[in-house]
């Protein structure tokens, strides 16, 4: 895999003993490819689970991790940082390390802002559909600001922003992967408590309430879990398209069940596997280029989902 080819026995040797015949190979595997694989696992499973939460929560098959407007918030944060600073005449994109951390921070701040706004509206508004529309409106609003910024910014800053928006699983050090892992773990733990009430929500909010589900608390918890998972993933890997929407559908079509006790772990694993496959495709052996991950997830994922829908003729939440 990737632009440097390493023999299989060396890979296993590096993983189990930490040594190999060529020193750079050790470095490539331990500090580049392994963290990348870990990131792929976290991103795939985290986004898949977020998508599952959102589809059940909104009872809508088109919902995905980003319907709350998280990616829009994140992209606004990053756009303000990368392009806004350029317009203001500051150019701290020259400091490589600083800029990477700054992008993560800017993205998190953007997501946090959206999360705050969504939480406030969720407390005030009774209807979940209204939340969906508010999420969409956030996307339009931030999209407009991002467009304005791109219009006025220099081409290299614009390119940097485009690269960010294409998503990337690589470039993360072990310490960054572990920070992301902590958020991922917290998010998934939260999800465990949502399994039972989400099952009740499948048959509608009124039924769920009559079964003893505290709707407001459920809404609050679901939004927080999605924000923790999706927000942290977007901060570290950029907005990864498609996986969050498609994996829950794939799993439902394969397993023919709606029970979250079964779906949650399988979506987790399915998301991780699909993301690892997409990552492998993006850096096929013998090819010098690495494709942007978003292009791969959509190019290869969309036809699969279309095929599945055509086969079963309908898509449900």
């Amino acid at each position: 895999m990737g632009s440097v080819s390493i023999p299989l026995q060396d890979i296993t040797r590096v993983i189990f003993t930490g040594e190999s015949s060529v020193d750079t190979w050790t470095y490539i595997i331990l500090d580049y490819r392994l963290p990348k694989a870990m990131t792929a696992i976290i991103v795939g499973s985290g986004l898949g689970v977020s998508g599952l939460l959102m589809q059940t929560f909104f009872r809508n098959p088109l919902a995905g991790p980003y319907v709350l407007g998280l990616s829009s918030g994140a992209s606004l944060g990053v756009a303000l940082l990368l392009m806004g600073s350029g317009i203001l005449g500051l150019s701290f994109t020259n400091y490589l390390w600083f800029s990477k951390t700054a992008v993560i921070l800017a993205s998190s701040l953007g997501s946090l802002m959206v999360m705050g706004a969504v939480l406030i509206t969720s407390v005030k508004i009774k209807d979940s559909m209204a939340l969906l529309i508010i999420g969409l409106m956030f996307a339009s609003l931030t999209g407009a600001v991002v467009n304005l910024l791109s219009y006025f910014s220099a081409s290299d800053e614009l390119q940097q922003f485009v690269f960010w928006s294409l998503g990337s699983l690589g470039d993360l050090s072990w310490s960054e992967v572990s920070i992301l892992g902590v958020f991922w773990f917290l998010g998934l733990i939260l999800c465990l408590f949502l399994i039972k009430p989400l099952d009740a929500l499948l048959i509608g909010e009124s039924y769920a309430k009559s079964l003893g589900v505290h709707i407001k608390l459920l809404r609050f918890m679901t939004i927080i879990a999605t924000c923790v998972l999706t927000g942290s993933i977007t901060a570290f890997a950029g907005p990864i398209a498609f996986v969050g929407l498609a994996i829950p559908h794939l799993m439902r079509l394969i397993l023919k069940t709606n029970k979250h006790l079964i779906l949650l772990p399988t979506v987790c694993m399915g998301g991780a596997v699909v993301m690892l496959i997409c990552d492998s495709i993006s850096q096929l052996p013998g090819v010098d280029y690495t494709l942007p991950i978003n292009a791969v997830t959509s190019l290869f994922g969309a036809p699969i989902v279309i095929w599945l829908i055509l086969r079963s003729r309908q898509l449900n939440f």
Partner: protein, 256 residues
Amino acid sequence: MRLETKQLSVGYNKPKVEVASGINISIKNAGLTAVIGVNGSGKSTLIKSLSGLINPLQGDIKLYNRPLNTYTVKEIAQKISLVLTKQRLPQHLKVIDFVALGRQPYTNWIGIHEYQDKNHIIKALKQVKMYEAKDKACSRLSDGQLQKVLIARAIAQNTPLILLDEPTSHLDMYHKAMVLNLLKSISTNHDKSVIFATHEINLALQLCDSIILIKDKQVIHDTPQNLIHSGILHELFPQDLIKFDEKAQLFKMNRI
């Protein structure tokens, strides 16, 4: 007293719309109670208010002699089960999984079914004669079968009160009678107070132990016989098309 209301007024806030007021209902024991009234008279609103889905505008609802608003949602779920009109159900939801949701008020935090939960689910399915179809997807059932499954979920919830919103809509005449007969047998054989909103006045008059009649925002709760003799049924609908025949105890079409 299982369920009691005093000077209850139901409706919606924002904008404030009062649908019915001065409602005094008392459900003492097991039995079958129909809520009847013309379209838009507030039957559904009353059912939703009694089950705690919406808050009443004024007055008290008492569940087992305790105000309803002092109960938590989980406590209500162990006293009242609810069957709503047709809802969109997920494609892959199996009959048995749908009925199993009725056990939610009793299961642990992750929803694992113990032996007695499974027992309740199987008993409920057998009671509505849908046990053989337990592995079918709900989306593939006929309207009549689906209604039975919806009722089975309420039975599995094992509550002393079952409230239903128009369980007979979308059904043919035979299945209407079948559903009402099923409700009657649940109420007599299993000590349950069943309250349901319906347009089937003729069937309700024959079958129910008591009737809640909503007319012009006023609510009367009495036995079918008392209602028939009071003459109020004559005024329920405009008289140009149908009339109440007191002898036959039925609404009939006017001869042309």
